[in-house]
């Protein structure tokens, strides 16, 4: 109220003690120094929270208050956003600030199977007071399970020794892998397709027809035909926007990271072609905070691209998530880009009609745009002629769990789980027999090995109550149970639910409670009822899919939970 009264020219203090928290001068100085000359726009709130936390190390109540004052927001607005995102460390009055270094140990499905719980316990005992060790949802390194982030430094096959070594040597910055930079990409014909599009050599109708004929679909998981998305967005009035969904967070999925770390300019070229296709004025890249190496790469390479543009470019904004799986849901992503809590919007209207800042918005996944330049170079047939068992196309499969060589594999649509294990991933790990698999990360359900010869692709798994989603294939063996996997996945959903709608917010909490209460004898009737409402009545895909693991266990593995 103090601020508002001042603005209105009214006396600031109408009572001996002003209501609310007074602004702390030194916190305000910190905030101003951290923000520099950056605009104080509302949509930059999350960026500014990062800036203050990067400078100070954490966010005190005074800093949040000062940031509100500086941005012309109310304390409630800043606080509700800051507390939504797990990567913001809020230190309330009387609480001790966190130690300067944080080690995040991934405890999602593949890492849990590889011993994350033991690692977490050992690190908590073994690293001393200057380091905070916390569990973290999937950090997209499932091929290197168990994985951890030491500061911004990613560690695969993490051990206490390896983590301690990094902590002691202070090597806690992001380790940028080698990748194709701007010059080599350009030298090998990169951005030629974009240039041809922008300069009128390739008319929109032809480009659209090629993408349509290729059958390219949304590879983030929803599988919506990409060309049709373009048609919808283009039919809406300008200005239009494009958002790139680089918030890969589905447990078991790490193919978008692979695309960005291996060939970032192919991602950017595909994104810019899509922006040209819908005549977008501006482009936003929403990158998850768990991928600091990708952030470094994209920052560098966007600079290189802007310094030597192959043609006219739209405005490109790189935005940083803050630890929220839900922001991979496209309407939550849009809310987050606007600087708000990442809560999904109700549909209709769809983002193609009312998206970012109320404008028609095209949202594409990283891998989807990664394919666009190559399809336009080589033709629709090159892409569409791949496929097994009558399916068409190809995509990257993230394969993890009990296989000899987990990793990202390019495979034809319709490949089976058994083929992925044997032809691509070097077979099952020694001493392990194929028992079950997750075809689509945490969301897609759990299928028994007896369905290991089914084609993996969009649509075809629906009859098994399952879907391929982001093609995150996690292989379970006779050392695992589907029930334990389901508990892990439900815990993940409980942690990541945004809290907006009842079926998801309360449903995930009650489901985890019921499952943990009697791990070998679930209340199957009640869980089944709950699962139906979560699937039917939740606002977004997170809540709708969150009960899939439960339903899979009840359908395919009832003997595990009815002992």
């Amino acid at each position: 109220m103090g601020r508002r009264n001042r603005a209105a020219g009214l006396p600031v203090m109408l009572r001996p003690v002003p209501k609310g928290r007074p602004t702390d001068a030194s916190a305000l100085a910190d905030v101003r120094a951290a923000l520099g000359v950056a605009p104080r726009r509302r949509d930059l709130l999350i960026e500014h929270l990062h800036a203050v936390q990067d400078a100070v190390g954490y966010l005190t109540s005074d800093h949040l208050n000062a940031l509100a004052e500086e941005m012309g927001l109310t304390p409630a607005e800043v606080y509700e956003v800051a507390t939504f995102y797990h990567h913001f460390d809020i230190v309330r009055d009387g609480d001790a600030p966190p130690p300067p270094l944080t080690v995040r140990v991934c405890d999602s499905i593949a890492c849990e199977m590889a011993g994350a719980a033991d690692l977490l316990a050992a690190l908590r005992d073994g690293l001393g007071a200057g380091v905070r060790v916390v569990p973290a949802p999937c950090i997209g390194r499932c091929a290197g399970a168990p994985a951890a982030l030491v500061g911004a430094r990613a560690v695969d096959r993490a051990s206490v020794e390896a983590v301690r070594g990094l902590v002691e040597s202070g090597a806690v910055d992001a380790e940028v892998p080698s990748y194709a930079g701007f010059r080599p990409y350009r030298d090998f014909g990169g951005y030629d397709v974009l240039r041809a599009c922008v300069e009128g050599e390739r008319p929109y109708e032809d480009v659209h027809a090629v993408i349509q004929a290729s059958g390219l679909r949304g590879l983030g998981g929803a599988g919506f035909p990409s060309a049709r998305k373009w048609t919808f967005v283009r039919a809406e009035p300008a200005p239009r926007y494009v958002a790139l969904n680089a918030d890969e967070g589905e447990p078991g999925t790490f193919k978008d990271r692979y695309c960005m770390e291996a060939d970032p300019h192919r991602v950017l070229e595909g994104l810019l072609i899509a922006a040209w296709a819908v005549e977008a004025e501006s482009v936003w890249i929403y990158l998850r905070d768990e991928y600091p190496a990708c952030r470094e790469i994209l920052t560098r390479e966007l600079d290189a691209l802007r310094a030597d543009p192959p043609c006219a470019l739209p405005e490109i904004h790189l935005r940083r998530g803050a630890g929220a799986y839900i922001c991979g849901e496209e309407t939550s992503l849009i809310e987050s880009l606007e600087g708000k809590r990442g809560e999904p919007r109700l549909r209709p209207p769809y983002p193609a009609q009312v998206g970012l800042f109320g404008r028609p918005t095209l949202v594409h996944n990283v891998e989807t745009v990664y394919w666009i330049p190559e399809i336009l170079r080589r033709g629709a047939d090159w892409f569409a002629s791949e496929g097994r068992r009558g399916r068409s196309g190809m995509r990257y499969f993230s394969v993890s769990g009990r296989v000899k060589e987990p990793g990202v594999y390019l495979a034809p649509a319709g490949v089976s789980a058994r083929e992925l294990i044997d032809e691509y991933a070097g077979g099952m790990a020694d001493g392990h027999d194929f028992y079950a698999f997750l075809p689509g990360g945490a969301s897609g359900g759990i299928l028994p090995a007896s369905l290991g010869d089914e084609p993996l692709d969009f649509d075809v798994l629906a009859e098994h109550g399952s879907f391929i989603g982001s093609a995150a294939i996690v292989i379970l063996s006779d050392a695992d149970t589907a029930a334990a996997a389901a508990v892990n996945l439900l815990r993940f959903f409980r942690h990541e639910s945004c809290g907006k709608c009842t079926p998801c917010r309360v449903g995930t909490a009650k489901a985890t409670g019921l499952m943990a209460e009697r791990p070998r004898k679930w209340d199957t009737g009640l869980l089944d009822e709950l699962a139906e409402t979560m699937a039917d009545a939740s606002i977004c895909g997170l809540g709708q899919a969150a009960a899939n693991p439960i339903r899979s266990v009840l359908r395919f593995f009832p003997e595990e939970v009815e002992r």
Binding site: A76, E77, E80, L346, S497, K500, C501, L514, E532
Partner: protein
Amino acid sequence: MSEVRFTLDGVEVAADDGETILMAARRAGVRIPHLCYADGMRPDGNCRACVVEIDGERVLAPSCCREPADGMVVRADSDRARRAQRMVLELLLCDAPAEAYRRDSELGLWARELEVDGARFPPRQQPLPDYSHPAIAVRLDACIQCTRCVRACREVQGNDVIGYAGRSAEARIVFDAELPMGESTCVACGECVQACPTGALMPAGLEVEDTPPVAAASQGKWYGPHRSELRPGTDGARDAAP
């Protein structure tokens, strides 16, 4: 104004352009439970108690936010829709205090009507009460996270003292940066108390809100159940609280 004709529970219903299914249903005398919706406030569609089944759609739709289309076939009373409505009420009820703070709690009202109790799920860990404010008692153990108070404070009054903080099952109503309400910038306008459907926010000093809702509804602003939704026998809600 153009008119839309659709089928609701087997009966053809007319809706005005821009009217939601819930509003059309109310005029037609079809009762659909709802909690986060209140007259005079932007519908948010978060509680999901009002979900209905629409022919041809994969999942249920919140009737408070969805406008009918010509020829749409909607069922509020199908087994599937009712199962979801009941489950939503049950999930909220199992986390509510054993005895409601208001006899006319909207949650209790709908739960009684749909014959739901909250006994099958273990309750959540409850937050402590906050009696720091001279005029408003805050007992968030009765909170159903519907955010009506947030919209009342932010969008109706423009005070923006109340926020919805945290995430998942820890998502909660806060005042400023989670201050006790009495230390926050609250101006005690009372809009949030009017908006709260369960008595989580109530006039301080009242152990049980005793105002019969029909009487209250006739006096100025009232966010509670619409008159048409209060049935004889449930309106005074004098029977035992859930």
